[in-house]
């Protein structure tokens, strides 16, 4: 059985099962092998799931929920994953807040951008988009709190 993985923005493989096991990739990595209808997380694809501590029954239980195929944004052509561009990470705002608002929100925004990018590079487009929205909220709340703190700073 040949196994392909999708990692760091590109398809890699094929690997034998033993080679794949030796790679020790993260459970969220998309894998595909002949017989699997679509790219699937390694920790829930029936063949590779036992490497991540899942029983055969447990793998079947989660297979409909977590496969990448459920995301209409991700298109698979000839077993190559095509994702839309990475969702915005708002780094210019994170740096602006670091310079101006006296808030740890800017550094939080940069660290969340790392998470969003990692998810995107691992083929988890939907996770990256969700993180992008969280970044937006952190930055908006930081700016509002920064503006609200101005009168308090004058009082001290």
């Amino acid at each position: 059985m040949k196994i392909w993985i999708y990692s760091n923005g590109q398809q890699q493989g094929p690997y034998t099962f033993d080679q794949f096991a030796a790679l020790g990739v993260d459970g969220s990595t998309p894998v595909w092998y002949d017989g699997l209808p679509q790219w699937t997380r390694a920790d829930i694809a029936p063949l590779t799931a036992p490497l991540y501590g899942a029983t055969a029954g447990g793998a079947a239980q989660y297979s409909t929920r977590q496969t990448f195929v459920a995301d209409p944004n991700v298109v698979v052509v000839n077993n190559v994953v095509h994702q839309p561009p990475c969702p915005p990470t708002y780094l210019i705002w994170s740096i602006f807040i670091t310079c101006c608002c006296c808030q740890p929100g800017g550094i939080a925004g940069i660290i969340m951008a790392i998470v969003a990018r990692n998810r995107y590079n691992n083929g988890d487009y939907r996770g990256a988009r969700r993180m992008s929205e969280y970044i937006q909220w952190v930055l908006i709340i930081s700016i509002v709190l920064g503006l609200m703190s101005i009168p308090f700073a004058f009082m001290l």
Binding site: T89, C102, G106, F154
Partner: protein, 116 residues
């Protein structure tokens, strides 16, 4: 959106060019007032005023990190405008390792400026 950003930037430059924040009346850092430690952005307003009046030495003294962060922020802002299919520049500079380096640089600056 871009026009609004340019107008805001010109207005801020006018305000900080003419008004010296050190003379008072400018917003002050709550973190500094509460803890006595400077945050990574402390001194930005005074540094901006000094730089706009040509005194780069004073600007460096108020907040040296701005000389690094302003070009970096401009680079990330410019890259986010890139709509070519490959988005090569954005992919390069938004690598997780590059972003981790940026966060580490800011945190290191935050610690170092409070040590001496």
């Amino acid at each position: 959106m871009a026009a609004a950003a340019v107008i805001a930037a010109v207005a801020i430059a006018f305000y900080y060019g003419l008004h010296d924040p050190a003379a008072g009346g400018a917003p002050q850092c709550l973190f500094y007032k509460l803890t006595g430690w400077e945050c990574p952005g402390c001194g930005s307003q005074r540094a901006l005023h000094a730089a706009l009046n040509g005194d780069l030495t004073a600007a460096w003294h108020y907040n040296a990190m701005l000389f690094f962060l302003v070009p970096v922020a401009a680079l990330y802002g410019f890259a986010s405008l890139d709509t070519t299919p490959s988005r090569r520049l954005r992919r390069r500079i938004e690598q997780p390792a590059a972003l981790a380096l940026l966060a580490a640089a800011i945190i290191a600056w935050w610690i170092l400026r409070n040590i001496d």
